[in-house]
Symmetry: D3
Subunit: 255 residues, 6 copies
């Protein structure tokens, strides 16, 4: 594994021929009273670190870009956030992907740590592979799992600043987790988190402020659950990287 930041341009050109460029993207946004603004960035980095460690020297050559620390978080500005608009984030991803192709990469993977980035990331990857002779992949870290039992709580995954993220932070960055506020569920539950019908997305104005910025009871989180979650996500991401490598080796002209 290589850090793009540390490579010279000739090393970039050389690794780009057969390697995979990996871009983590996160956010800076309110995570209730007990988690820090950078939670999504810190967690996607923790999962990527662990996945690359698991791949070790046997895996495909991965060149890791510095994380994009800002994401699309306008719904959290009622409290505090550093948010890129949807067109801005789309432009950033298009420019990064285009630069990587121009610098020689043919296989690129974006790993996301923030739900609000998801659609924009998928659109960016699709448009990119349509125009350039590349294979481009994307995932959000909580959706790539190797399956199996990891003590999970599907109704609270990933949620926002609740059991899932708090457990992961207790495992990955315990020093940054403050005491949780007492959980006060709102009634009705927020529509963005619990759609009123399967397959239907509903957005109601002002919903994030109404529910106070959390989706479920963070006081149920434990470091042990977090270690399990982290381990399975890391294994899942490692598996996804191996699978992407296998599926796209020899797909493009200059490899």
């Amino acid at each position: 594994m290589f850090e793009l930041t540390h490579l010279t341009w000739r090393e970039v050109r050389e690794t780009a021929r057969t390697g995979i460029a990996l871009l983590p993207i996160g956010s800076q946004e309110q995570h209730a009273g007990h988690l820090p603004m950078g939670t999504d960035t810190l967690l996607v980095e923790a999962v990527v670190d662990a996945a690359l460690a698991e791949l070790g020297d046997d895996g495909p050559g991965v060149v890791r870009l510095p994380s994009l620390p800002f994401g699309h978080s306008p719904h959290h500005l009622f409290a505090a956030a550093v948010s890129l608009s949807a067109p801005t984030l789309a432009a950033v991803l298009a420019d990064i992907l285009g630069s990587l192709a121009e610098s020689g990469f043919r296989r690129i993977l974006v790993v996301n740590g923030h739900g609000g980035n998801d659609e924009i990331m998928r659109l960016a990857v699709k448009r990119f592979a349509l125009d350039a002779d590349v294979s481009a992949a994307a995932c959000s870290y909580w959706t790539v799992t190797e399956g199996g039992d990891d003590g999970e709580n599907p109704g609270a995954t990933p949620g926002h600043a609740g059991w899932f993220e708090t457990s992961l932070m207790l495992a990955a960055k315990p020093g940054l987790v403050r005491e949780t506020d007492p959980w006060q569920p709102v009634d009705p539950a927020p529509l963005f988190d619990k759609p009123p019908y399967p397959g239907l997305t509903v957005e109601r104005h002002g919903e994030w402020a109404r529910v106070g910025g959390t989706t479920d009871d963070a006081s149920l989180a434990t470091a042990e659950a977090g270690r399990n979650l982290l381990e399975h996500r890391a294994a899942g991401l490692a598996g996804a990287i191996r699978a992407f490598d296998a599926a796209t080796a020899h797909s493009h002209g200059n490899q």
Copy 2:
């Protein structure tokens, strides 16, 4: 149910107070050798028609807009398509949603018939409800089902121009279905349809042209399967409309 096209502006203002505006969106794009360019538009209209018929006079007041007959289909231009770029489709949806709010609507539902529109539609709905005091909902017609057994073939749902869409067209518009070409699966299967790892999206350049524009064997399609699929989607959409109505009644100031 009302057609926006047929209402006077005073009727629009009156129905907008408590009603739901419903916008179907589709596409014009290649659907292999046996289905017509407008398949996605025809099918979303068929599902919406049937759902509104099922709701009847007891349901919430729905004002149906004319379908947007063009979607985001750049991946089908290798054959033939009328495609709006992602920024253009985003702008169209933002303008339509904004106009509806300015004309008095507080609850709006977008029903989609084409996979390529999905992310753009969800982004549009989210951004809209963030800025305006409205509830906005979105679904793709194949994802809202009331569950139960409908003789489905999950591995081929929705696919593109395969068993699912061909069955539906045999039920809804049989006169427009030509004889299918013999099915020749490509190896490896296209990455956009069968990701190499759960939760991972992969886009490889040139994949749609390589696989000839179809995801699975359309010759397996039957009109009977299509009638089942259509019935369950219509019931699902009717249920989604009722649930949206129940969840958002009395949510906004001028209701």
Copy 3:
């Protein structure tokens, strides 16, 4: 005549070689108390239908696209409208025209039903033919006439929701015409309709709301006048299509 919606992509490619793609564009906007929101779309479709019927099998091959049912109507939002902004409509037309060329068409005609679309349509057609090796044409349905006496009332043509459009609707969609409100001319007459000097366009803020959304007395309209108007516009459009065909046959490489 073919409907693009009904053709397979191979049929599109085949007809595109020598045929003409025809795109109707309309609007959804207030048309006073007696005409429906979709008046402009309904009328452009009625004229196109009649013109294509008149051309019959002897005419050039025309592939008709589904109408764009939304236009540029910000001046009608004081009452009700679904309006695309000028940049959005320009982008939609550019994307549609570009897709048609990419799908093989070399000759394209846009037929417009709403005054507010006019400049944007003409700009789109000009830019398109500058960049691509095509011939592109545009007209508003009320300006292509074969001349002759059609009982016209030039001072009220086309106007908005007045004698002209109401007569046409009485001929084409009588069931959608409600009783007209008593005519109350405003003084001074609206500047957008009666410029204070020949050749001078003047726009005064708030003028559409001041005059109540109508330009002239709709109660003078009759179905008979409407049938005359419709017949002459259809004949005019048929003539325009024949003339476009004759002027541009063999103009482009792949024909």
Copy 4:
């Protein structure tokens, strides 16, 4: 009459209350072998000069902006031009009109010297008056005439670099007119100048280069015809300014 360039900002604020801001817009583009690149700018300035002289001290207070010397001329780049794209020119006009309103003006007139600017100018004026409490007007100098006999040649008005513009230049800037090339009409005549059917706009790719950049025989031009044309256009523009003043005095709040 005042030049904006020469006024202090306090004089601008004072004249803006009841005066009319006048913006001439032109182009820099090929005008065949005998007329200079700046023909359209020079001619619109000549007409504006003469009209303002005719109005004299009795007319409404007019504050004249410096001409925008560049217009929308992509169709002349086959030879030579300095062209703003359509979105750029639209943005320039929106910024200028918005600045004038912010600086206190309530009545603004754009006078155009180049056909390619026409639609963009009209759109800009409409959008501006929709958003701001102003009256905005626009004309192309060749369309505002007081009528009467001016020895005109309607089939060649305005054309491009032909009888009309050459005559005017012989009257206004004789030192800049070179000897005309012998006239060689092309067959068929260019579609942009002679549409194949009344009311139909047709643009064929490459047409300007095919016809060599001129629409009609410039050798027929005379300085006397030019003086007549100039005099009647100036009288027309003076009349249009008076009419605009009369129609919009006392229309806006701060007057």
Copy 5:
């Protein structure tokens, strides 16, 4: 020296091969109570006139474009200005530079008269030379000096509507200079003019209105100082043109 406005397109193509296109850009904005709105445009034109006169027939062939009379002046709208937004001005410059290259020029110089245009001009020149095979140069007229003693007052150069610009106007356009208001320095001095630390740019909201639109005491200005300043700037610009010519002759393919 040639005026682009006066050349035919064939003369443009011929001079473009080895000549330099020169574009002056200015502004229309408040210049306190004693200087006119067009001060920046008038001064850049005065310096360019004098520099080209100094170069005479021995210098490189320069084709002078008409000045862009509007610049980026949003900070002066509190009083009065005609301002292009930053994206608009960037688009205008990109379109002009691109047109010049498309018309045959390989060497282009932008000469600026307004501080607010500076960054936008430099960005435009850089982007242009990156994409096109050209050499592009830019300067603000007050920064190109041949050095030497010109009686200067560095602390007040260029400032805004103070000693520097008023002196130049007394030399170049004395009839447009009104009596200065008594100088009332504000405390603290405006941060945009006197940064609190070397190398640090600070912008505080509302600062231009707070200081009344002037940076220093204009009553100290004299026509003699203005003549010196003008002479040295003209000599500097003439030197810069000679140096640009020498450095880039034979740099590009078609020369």
Copy 6:
């Protein structure tokens, strides 16, 4: 000093009232054969770290954002870079600055590590302070010095991948510096680095590739020079922060 990434949103709101938000921006781009892609980001972070350490607890409250690791580097794509276009970087900065203001900050400082970002950063800061009631500041780390003798080499400051940056990297990140290639000056020297006339910016197409991506002889660099440079820049930045704090305390409403 606080890391935004580590704060909860309530801590952000509290520190924002009187604190200064500090955003470092860098780049990923070729730095010759001996320095890594992330040089500019690493160096701006080193200077910021040292400056904040020097300020200690007595300085103003500074909330440090995560660095933006990508900048505007299109001129380095001939070798390798991850570059944001100028409009994209402008949008990113506008969104970040706007979010900070919306989250409560009134004083914001951008510290830049890459020459190519300079104009875009200054424009962003100016536009931001025009619209919002804030004080915004910007500097590039090499331009804020406390003066004094630091063994500097003005002709090579900052340059690109030469004596200045290599010395700093030898001091800050010695493990990432490879052996320098032998220095081969090109003749003529690159115009972007040595303008042919004082005050004149010249950009010649292809210049970066011609000179091989370096401006001066990196083999002259030493760690000791680097420590001096770093110390003086850190002291300069600490001074700039103190001065910004002093100049803008109590400038804005909610402080």
